[in-house]
C-alpha cells in the first residue's frame, strides 16, 4: 500500500463534527503502528450531513468514508489499510460500487467548487497541479488583451453570484472604461445571509481560485490593489486566505510585474468585517473598508466610477471570482453550455433546514427546486410533508411546495417573489410556521437596518411588532393589509438593497400562505403548532396512566392529579412550555 493516501476533511463543518479528533487519531495510529500511507488534509466536499469525512485513495480508486468517529477510524485503518478490504457499509462516495448517498452527487456540476474537497487548501502546489494559475498564465503567454478577457467573461453569461445577478463582464467593462491612476478590485466575502455558507466553503477549500479570479479581474480592469472583505466569524477562511496570499507572494504571483506582464503590479489585503449585514451592499462595504460606519450611499455614482477612496472600484462575490479562472481556461462556450437562456453556468446552494442531506451542492442553472430537494437532498427529515423552501435569506422569499417545479434561474425565481440570492436554500416542513418565519426575518432586518432611511428603520420595526402580535394571538383583521401597505412603502423608499428587499419574506408568505395568517388572526391557532402562545396542551383521559411525571416536570404547577388517577392541565395557569408533552411516555398529551 505504498501510494495510499488518507485524506481528512477539515473544513469548519467537519471540525465542528469532530474531524480534528479523527485526524489526530489517524495520525497517532499511523505513527504507533508504522502504517504506510500519506496523511493529508482537505476541506469541505459538500457532504456536510456525513461529516467527519475521511477519503482513502488506494490503487483501486477513491473511497470516502462518512460519519467517521475515532472508533470507526481505527476500524477503517485496520481493515482498509492493513487488510486491503474497504468497509463498504461506511463508504458514502466512490466510483467503484453503489453507495446509499450516490444521488447526492448525481446532477451536480462542479465549476466554482471544482477543487473543494479534492486538494489541500494550504498547498499552492496542489492548486497548481489542478490547473491552478494556468488561466492567468494563459493570458500572459498568449498575450490576451484586457478587452478579450472582458469579452470572454461577457460571453460566458456569468452573472453576479452574490445575489444581484448583474452581468460580471459588463461590470468589468464599466470599471475598465473609467480611467484613473489607481483602481481597486474588491472581493465581497461578507456572507451575511443567515443560512448560507457557500463562500465560506470556497474560501476554506480553495482560496487560491479566488485569488486567481481577482488577479484576472485586476488585469482586466487595470486595478493595482485588491481587498477581500471577509466576515470575522470565518476565522478559518481568513487563516487560509492569509496562507494562500503568502504563498502567492513568494512565487511572485502577487507583487510587481506579475506573470511577466510588464507594468502589472497587484497585491491583495484582507479586511476583517466587524459584523453588519448591510456591509454586503457595495457602497456600505466600501465605507466599512474606509473605516467608517457601514452605511450605504446613493448611487450613482456607482463604484465603477467612484468607489473606494473615490477611485474606480469593482466588487464581485467570492463564488463569482472562483468561476473566473475556469471560464478563462475552458472558454466562454464551455461555461455557457450549462444553464438556461439568461442564466448561464452553475450555482452553488447551501441546502439546510429540514432536509436529510444538508450540505453544499453545485448544480447547473435550470434544475428544478424539487430535484434539488428530493433527488440531491434526499427529501425531508423523518419523511414529513415538504412545505416550502426559503431562497435568498432575509432579502428573499418562500416558495411553496406547489411551485417546487420552478427552475433555478434568476428570472424564474424572481417571478415567484423570492430572489436567487447568494444561494441559501432553507427547506421547511409542515411543522414550520410561515408567520413565524416572516417574523424571524423581520427581526433580523430590523436589527440590521443601518437606520439611514426612515422607512427601513421604522417600517421594519412596525412590521415586526405586527408580526409578533399575530404570532402571540393578538392579531387584528386589518393586519394583513397594513403589512402589505408598509411593505410597499419600505420597498419604494429605501436607498439600498437591504430595505428594498426586507419586506419580501412577508410578502411571499402572505401571497402563498395567507390561510396561515388568517388562522392565527381569526381562529387564534397556529396550523403548524409552532407558535407557543397559540397552543393548548390537554391530557387525553383514556391514555393517562396517572404516573405523575407531567405533574413533576411542570414548572408552574399547572397540572392536577394523584397517583394512578387521571391528570388535568389547568389552562389558566399553563405557560405552554411543552415540558409535559415532551416528557409523557404514554402519548397522553395533545397539542392543539
Amino acid at each position: 500500500m505504498e501510494n495510499t493516501k488518507v485524506i481528512v476533511g477539515l473544513g469548519s463543518c467537519g471540525l465542528a463534527a469532530g474531524a480534528g479528533k479523527v485526524y489526530e487519531k489517524i495520525k497517532q495510529l499511523k505513527e504507533n503502528q508504522n502504517l504506510q500511507f500519506e496523511l493529508k488534509k482537505t476541506s469541505c466536499i459538500g457532504m456536510c450531513f456525513r461529516e467527519p469525512l475521511v477519503e482513502i485513495i488506494d490503487n483501486n480508486g477513491s473511497y470516502i468514508y462518512g460519519d467517521v468517529t475515532e472508533a470507526t477510524a481505527t476500524e477503517i485503518l485496520e481493515k482498509h489499510i492493513q487488510n486491503a478490504t474497504p468497509i463498504k457499509e461506511y463508504v458514502v462516495k466512490t466510483d467503484l460500487f453503489v453507495t446509499k448517498d450516490k444521488n447526492f452527487f448525481e446532477g451536480q456540476v462542479k465549476i466554482a467548487l471544482r477543487n473543494c474537497g479534492y486538494m489541500d487548501p494550504e498547498s499552492i502546489e496542489e492548486y497548481q497541479a489542478r490547473n491552478g494559475y494556468k488561466s492567468i498564465e494563459k493570458i500572459s503567454t498568449q498575450n490576451i488583451s484586457r478587452t478579450e478577457v472582458i469579452q470572454t467573461v461577457m460571453d460566458s453569461g456569468l452573472r453576479g453570484r452574490g445575489g444581484g445577478g448583474f452581468s460580471t463582464g459588463l461590470k468589468w467593462r464599466f470599471a475598465n472604461n473609467n480611467k484613473s491612476d489607481i483602481k481597486y478590485i474588491i472581493c465581497n466575502a461578507d456572507e451575511g445571509d443567515p443560512g448560507a455558507f457557500m463562500d465560506r466553503s470556497v474560501l476554506e477549500g480553495d482560496p487560491h481560485s479566488v485569488l486567481e479570479g481577482m488577479i484576472i479581474g485586476a488585469y482586466a480592469i487595470e486595478a493595482s490593489e485588491g481587498w477581500i472583505y471577509c466576515r470575522a466569524e470565518y476565522p478559518l477562511a481568513i487563516k487560509r486566505l492569509n496562507i494562500a496570499m503568502d504563498q502567492a507572494r513568494k512565487k511572485g504571483y502577487l507583487g510587481k510585474n506579475i506573470f511577466g506582464i510588464e507594468g502589472f503590479d497587484f497585491d491583495i489585503h484582507i479586511k476583517e468585517g466587524a459584523g453588519a449585514f448591510v456591509c454586503g451592499e457595495e457602497t456600505a462595504l466600501i465605507a466599512s473598508i474606509e473605516g467608517q460606519r457601514g452605511m450605504p450611499r446613493k448611487r450613482p455614482p456607482f463604484p465603477a466610477a467612484s468607489g473606494l477612496w473615490r477611485k474606480p472600484t469593482n466588487i464581485n462575490n467570492v463564488e463569482t471570482f472562483a468561476n473566473i479562472p475556469w471560464i478563462i481556461l475552458n472558454g466562454a462556450t464551455a461555461f455557457a453550455k450549462y444553464g438556461t437562456e439568461k442564466s448561464k453556468g452553475t450555482k452553488v446552494f447551501a441546502l439546510t433546514g429540514k432536509i436529510k442531506n444538508g450540505g453544499l451542492v453545485e448544480v447547473p442553472m435550470g434544475i428544478t427546486i424539487r430535484d434539488i430537494v428530493f433527488k440531491l437532498g434526499g427529501g425531508i427529515i423523518n419523511d414529513k410533508k415538504f412545505k416550502a423552501v426559503q431562497l435568498g435569506g432575509p432579502s428573499g422569499g418562500c416558495i411553496p411546495e406547489y411551485l417546487a417545479d420552478t427552475i433555478v434561474d434568476y428570472d424564474s425565481v424572481n417571478a415567484t417573489g423570492a430572489i436567487m440570492g447568494s444561494g441559501g436554500m432553507v427547506v421547511m416542513d409542515e411543522t414550520t410556521c410561515m408567520v413565524d418565519m416572516a417574523r424571524f426575518f423581520l427581526d433580523f432586518t430590523k436589527k440590521e437596518s443601518c437606520g439611514k432611511c426612515t422607512f427601513c428603520r421604522i417600517g421594519t420595526q412596525r412590521m415586526l411588532e405586527i408580526l409578533t402580535r399575530i404570532t402571540e394571538g393578538e392579531g387584528k383583521e386589518s393586519d394583513i393589509d397594513t403589512l402589505i401597505e408598509l411593505s410597499n412603502q419600505i420597498k419604494d423608499s429605501s436607498l439600498c438593497g437591504l430595505g428594498q428587499t426586507a419586506p419580501n419574506p412577508v410578502l411571499t408568505t402572505i401571497k402563498y400562505f395567507k390561510d396561515e395568517y388568517e388562522a392565527h388572526i381569526r381562529d387564534k391557532k397556529c396550523p403548524s403548532k409552532s407558535c407557543k402562545a397559540l397552543l393548548t396542551f390537554e391530557i387525553i383521559p383514556d391514555k393517562c396512566t396517572g404516573c405523575m411525571l407531567c405533574k413533576k416536570v411542570c414548572p408552574v404547577d399547572a397540572i392536577d392529579g394523584e397517583r394512578k388517577l387521571i391528570h388535568v392541565i389547568k389552562q389558566e395557569m399553563c405557560i405552554k412550555c411543552g415540558m409535559c408533552f415532551s416528557k409523557c411516555k404514554f402519548e397522553a398529551i395533545t397539542v392543539r
Partner: protein
C-alpha cells in the same frame, strides 16, 4: 435599528488596573494608516476583551481619530463591545437553519442554566451569553460556538452539558447535577 446596540450606560467605574500601555504597539502600527479605525478598534478589543472607555480616550489623544467617530463605529458594528465580558463567550447561532431547528430552545436552556439573560455575563465572569446571526455551520444546526470550538446538532440538554463541563474545568468542582 442598530441604535439599539447603544445601551443606557450605567455608571460603572472601570477598575484602575487597565494597562493602557498594552495598546501602544497598536497605535504605532496603525497611526496615520488609511482606513485604520476598524483595525485599531479590533486590536484594542482583542487586547482587553472589550473597548474600555479609557482606551477610547487614549486613542483619541494619540491618533488623529475623533472620539465621536470611534464611538459611532464601535456602536454600529455587532463585533464591538463596550462592556467587559466573561472568560468564555457563548455564541448561540440564530441563523435561519438554526431557527427552524429550534435554536430558541438552546438559548432558553442556557438562560435557565446560567441564570443570565441573552447578552449578559454571569456574576463569576465565566460566561457571556450571546445570540449571533449565522456561524455558517448550517448543516449541523442548531449550533453554538465557544471560543474557537463549534458544537453542532445540539439539544437544550447537550448545550447545558457543554457549559457544565467547562465550568467544572474552570472551578475544579464537579457540578451537582
Amino acid at each position: 435599528m442598530r441604535i439599539e446596540r447603544i445601551k443606557k450606560e450605567e455608571v460603572v467605574l472601570e477598575s484602575d488596573n487597565i494597562d493602557l500601555s498594552l495598546i501602544d504597539p497598536i497605535i504605532t502600527k496603525y497611526k496615520n494608516v488609511k482606513g485604520n479605525m476598524i483595525p485599531i478598534l479590533q486590536k484594542t478589543q482583542e487586547t482587553y476583551g472589550y473597548i474600555p472607555r479609557a482606551a477610547f480616550n487614549k486613542l483619541a489623544k494619540e491618533t488623529d481619530l475623533k472620539l465621536s467617530d470611534m464611538y459611532g463605529v464601535a456602536s454600529f458594528y455587532a463585533q464591538f463591545r463596550l462592556h467587559p465580558v466573561g472568560k468564555h463567550i457563548i455564541k448561540v447561532c440564530h441563523g435561519t437553519a438554526c431557527h427552524v431547528q429550534n435554536a430558541t430552545a438552546i438559548t432558553d436552556a442556557l438562560v435557565e442554566e446560567l441564570k443570565v439573560k441573552d447578552g449578559e455575563t454571569t456574576p463569576d465572569n465565566l460566561f457571556t451569553l450571546e445570540s449571533v446571526a449565522c456561524l455558517g455551520c448550517c448543516s449541523l444546526a442548531p449550533v453554538m460556538m465557544i471560543g474557537n470550538d463549534t458544537f453542532g446538532k445540539l439539544t437544550g440538554k447537550s448545550a447545558v452539558d457543554v457549559i457544565r463541563k467547562i465550568r467544572e474545568t474552570e472551578t475544579g468542582t464537579p457540578c451537582k447535577n
